[in-house]
Structures are given as C-alpha cells and as structure tokens.
Subunit: 343 residues, 2 copies
C-alpha cells in the first residue's frame, strides 16, 4: 500500500450499524484496520450510526491515535427492508447517509456489512454507473482446492442474462482479480452445462463468442463441478445462477457440521470418535474460512463500495476497510472505464 | 411389488454396453435384480450388446434360473457422442436398439447407464412425449439432512426456462416422488434467489403464480442453501440451473476428499490423524451414497426409461432395474397424462 502524506488522508465512510453485531464489530474492525495501517497510510474514519453506542465501544477498546468523526443517526436499514423502498423511506439510515458521504465527495470509500440489496440500490442511485457499464455487479470469492480462491460474478445484483452484461462482468472481474490476487492475466471462464461452445442457451452461446473475441484470458466454459476445483480465476454467470451457486456452496459446511453432530448424537462411542476427529477436520477445512477475503466490492458504480457479510467479525470488517483503501488507491474504477470504452 | 403370473413376465431391455464398466456391471446387476425379485415378479431380460462379452460375464457368474435373451451388436454410443447425431449415425448401437425394443412393444422398460443426452434424444424420438407434456425432463435425487432425499428437476434435459415447462416438471416430479418416497402429497418448491414471491426473473415470477394456483402441495420459493437442508420433496428449476446445481453438489465430496488427502500429505502426524479420522468420516457421510437411489427416470416420454450414472455399480444397476419395474407396474405415465390433461 502506498504511503500517503497525512494531509491526504483516506476518508472511510463506515456504516457501523449494518452487521448482525453492530456497532461492536464495525468499530473494533476500524480500530484493527487503523493499527494495521497507521504506519503506511493516513486513515480518517467517519462512523455513521448511533453516537452513544459507538462511544460505548470506543470507551472499552484501546484506540489511541484513531482519527475519527461520528455522524449520528438512529435510523437503520434491516436485512428485511426492501432494497428499493429504502431509497425513499430510509434516507436517514446509517447505510444511506454513509453512501451519501461518498456521493458528495466527503468520503473516499463506503464500507458496510448491511443489507446487500439496499447497498446495491442506494449506491447505484447516489453514485451512478461507470461510463460503459450497463449493470452493476457483485462478485464473491469462493475457496478452491488451489492456493487462490475463484471470483464468481454476478451473484445476485443483475439476474437478467444478457451477453453484454456478462461480458462486462468478465471485464470488471478480471481487472479486480488481477489486482487483488496479483495475477497478471487472470483466467476467465463462462459457467455452463458443458465444455463445448455449442452448449447452453442462445444467450450463453452468444456470451461465449463475445468472450472468445475479447482481449480477456478466456479459457472457455466450465461446469458446476469445476468451480471449487479452481478451474478459473474468474467465473462469469448471470446473477440468478450465481446466487443459487453461492448459497448452495455456503450451505455445504453447515450440512457437514449437521451430519457430524447427528452422528455424534447416536451413542457415546460415536461422540468419542467425533471428538477425536473434529480438530483434524477443522484444520482440513481451515482454508474454507471466508473471513480472510473481507467482503466484496460492488463493481460498476462510480465509487468504492465494499460489501460485507452480516456476520462479519471485527477481523472481516478490518479486511473490508483495507480492501476499500487498496481499491481506491489502485484506481480500479478508472481502469474499468478505460477497458469498457475500448470495447 | 405385485406378484405377476409368469405368463406375464416384465421384459427389460437392458443396454449392457452403456456404463464405464460394461458389460460386467450391467449383467451382474441384472443377476442381482433377478435374485432379489425371483419370488415376487417374473422378469425377462433382453441383453443388448456384445454377445461374447455378455456370455463371458455369465460364464463366471452364478445365474441359474435367469430368464434372458441376447441381441448382439458391436456398435456403442460413447459418452463423447453427440446426442442428436446418434439419432442418425448410431441406429445399431446397444442404446438405440434397446430403446427401439421398448418403442416396438417388445420390451416393457428400457434401462441404460449410457450417454444421458443420447438416451434423452433417442427415447424422445422413438417413444414420443406423453400427451400434455411439452418437454421431457430428467430429475435427480439429492441427499439431504432429512431422512429422505430431495428430487430436483430439471437437471439438464430442458434448459429453456418457460413457466409452463417448470409447471409440468413440478407435476411429473410430484407424481414420481409420491410413489417412490411413499409421500402422499410431496412438498414442491421453486428454486429462486429469495423466498418472497416478488423475487426472480419475470419467467420465475410467472412460474410461481402457476404453481400457487395448481393442485400441487406448493410451499413457495426456496434458495440454494435450502436444497441439501431438505426444505422440499421436489425442487423445480430450469435445466441450466439444475445441471449446475447438481454438478456443484456432486463435487463437494471430491473437494472434501482432496482437502483431507492434501492435509495428510503434510507430514506423518497429519497422516496419522487422518487415518484415525477416515472411518468416522465415512460413516458420517454414508447417507450421501447415491447408489441406493439406482438411477433416475426420463419423465415425460411414452415409456419407462431409467437412466443410470456411467459409474454405476452392479448394485446401482440392480436398483435401476427394480425402479423400472416399479415405475411400469405403478403406471406412472398414465397418471402424468391424466394430471396434465386436467390442467
């Protein structure tokens, strides 16, 4: 990360009320980020949310040197709020106000572990789309058996399958991944029901030919079984398919845990066996820990927006903040604009 | 299973060359089925494939009392053959000839562990569709944390999403599952990106309303995370989504095995730990054994067609044969016709 003069602090608008453990994890995550970066970058936090609750967390957490201000609001966007209704009904919510700071140029990045749909609608409306982008997109890292995760997009922001949309997702995902996985020419694959280019619906076939003719490092179609095998750095699909893939994959570990518990409940010996097995299982599956990735960007909007899981831990929030700073410093959005204007 | 007079044997056209271990597993599976059913049903096997190879397997396998005939052919449909090209180029293949026996009324059921796409195209052309069925469909059982599996359809036979298609899949899947899981009114769910009926594409929303107005036991939308949790007996989706869901889910165990191997390879202690853990893991995951289900039906065609996995063991083939007999005896297809004519 580039060292910045303090006169040029990076201003982070943090919706501290977004996550399931707000504002505890948000504020602590900010302090973690500060401690990790204080020697390499000047950071200024704008905490948006309930002032008293924020101060309570600060009071019991060592944060000397933390550069922050608080914008108070009691309104909160819940996980149940309709993303579009929020645009009209919750303009005083911490999520909306934090996004507004970015839109008004009073912040450089916007970070929240709140309602993803609301972040999508609010950010798209307040920030607008990058020139050349038809639809914004949200991707997600999925762990693989390789050393690096796969970046799958779209996972729900844009559910209509149009070849141009998927092509743009591929461009945005490729640029993003090239910076964050440090891969020069990340491989891009199209999620399909077979490897041959003749497979899939007409829209998918058209997408295949657009990707083949692009400057991307397109390696062709991959199937559902190839995702976790890490067949490509970037996997492109429509948001409907991607959302189902993501949620199915996330459920796998829970199913496994349930099965193990269930087995353990069937007698003392089973319980003993499981007790002996668990530590090993935990080590085996350690790399499937999503925390490390620390949120994902909302790609295609005019601004740096990082979205986190509602269950984000302070460590995850810290990583989201770090990601947002890298995203900002590396000028990802201008690279996306350039790439799409040339095509 | 109803006891049949021997004068009324059930004739099974078995493509013995379809699977990866053909004809070994096919012939042995037939013998297993005969031994299991000889006291309850009269079965007559028509083995279609290489006569000498069939006789070799029979020569080294006890099969006294087995009622069979052999139709010799050397032509085989491979897993790489184009399903549509096969219609013209491989009319002398074991797969095509076995399907033909059913079409000509010389067999009551058609069973193969061969090229699924070819079984779909050949069966649809030779048998035709059931009155009221727009598109044939292939479903699959997916293991759940509940005591019964979930039947997901379509998984690749019909990739275009049309509300009417999905409605028909729901009707066919519901009738099939009610018989094979012995559930009176199986629950039916629509795979979507959210639970609210406002979620999804226009086609998905229209499907939702068709299912709501139907006589099915429709419980609404479920998400990707709900599939393995066993939220519904029947899960309906388009063949593109279903195929990706199936292959992703099938890859989970392989990923897990890879992770465990990988962990074991990192030192003697790890290897020891894994060695101690494996037997327990195997027991924990035992219910994820697909063999028991023994293939899936091609629903919507005029005839009983059971499709098996290329890796089908003799046990799996045996179960496929048993399924095909049950399917035939229960008159599933006439029930489907009746159900769709009333709607």
């Amino acid at each position: 990360m580039t060292k910045l003069p303090n006169s040029n602090n990076i201003r982070i608008a943090l919706d501290v009320m977004g996550g399931d453990f707000a504002p505890e994890n948000e504020v602590k995550g900010a302090i973690f980020a500060f401690n990790e970066l204080k020697n390499v970058a000047g950071i200024e936090f704008i905490f948006v949310g309930n002032e008293q609750k924020i101060k309570d967390v600060l009071a019991r957490t060592e944060h000397s040197g933390l550069n922050y201000s608080i914008i108070h609001t009691d309104e909160i966007v819940t996980m149940h709020d309709d993303p579009v209704a929020v645009l009209k009904t919750k303009k005083n919510s911490s999520l909306y106000m934090a996004a507004e700071l970015l839109a008004k140029g009073q912040a450089d990045t916007f970070v929240s572990a709140g309602n993803t749909g609301a972040m999508l609608s609010v950010s798209t409306m307040l920030l607008g789309r990058i020139k050349g982008v038809s639809r914004p997109t949200i991707g997600t890292y999925m762990p693989t058996i390789k050393s690096t995760p796969t970046f799958v997009l779209d996972v729900g922001a844009t559910i209509d399958l149009k070849p141009r949309f998927l092509y743009e997702f591929a461009v945005m995902g490729s640029i993003y991944v090239s910076h964050f996985l440090g891969k020069d020419k990340p491989t891009v694959a199209l999620l399909n029901i077979g490897e041959e280019e003749t497979k899939g619906t007409d829209a998918i076939k058209e997408t295949y030919s657009m990707l083949s003719q692009s400057h991307l490092n397109f390696i062709g179609n991959i199937e559902g079984r190839d995702i976790l095998a890490g067949a490509a750095d970037v996997v492109v699909c429509d948001g409907f398919t991607g959302n189902i893939v993501l949620k199915l994959a996330e459920s796998f570990l829970n199913i496994l845990k349930f099965k193990i518990k269930d087995y353990a409940s069937k007698g003392f010996l089973n319980k003993l066996k499981v007790g002996m097995m668990l530590p090993t299982m935990k080590s085996v599956l350690s790399e499937f820990d999503y925390q490390e990735y620390g949120g994902v960007p909302l790609l295609g909007v005019n601004g740096v927006v990082i979205i986190g899981h509602g269950k984000s831990t302070p460590k995850a929030i810290k990583n989201m903040i770090v990601r947002s700073i890298e995203f900002y410093q590396k000028g990802i959005n201008s690279r996306i604009e350039t790439a799409l204007q040339n095509n």
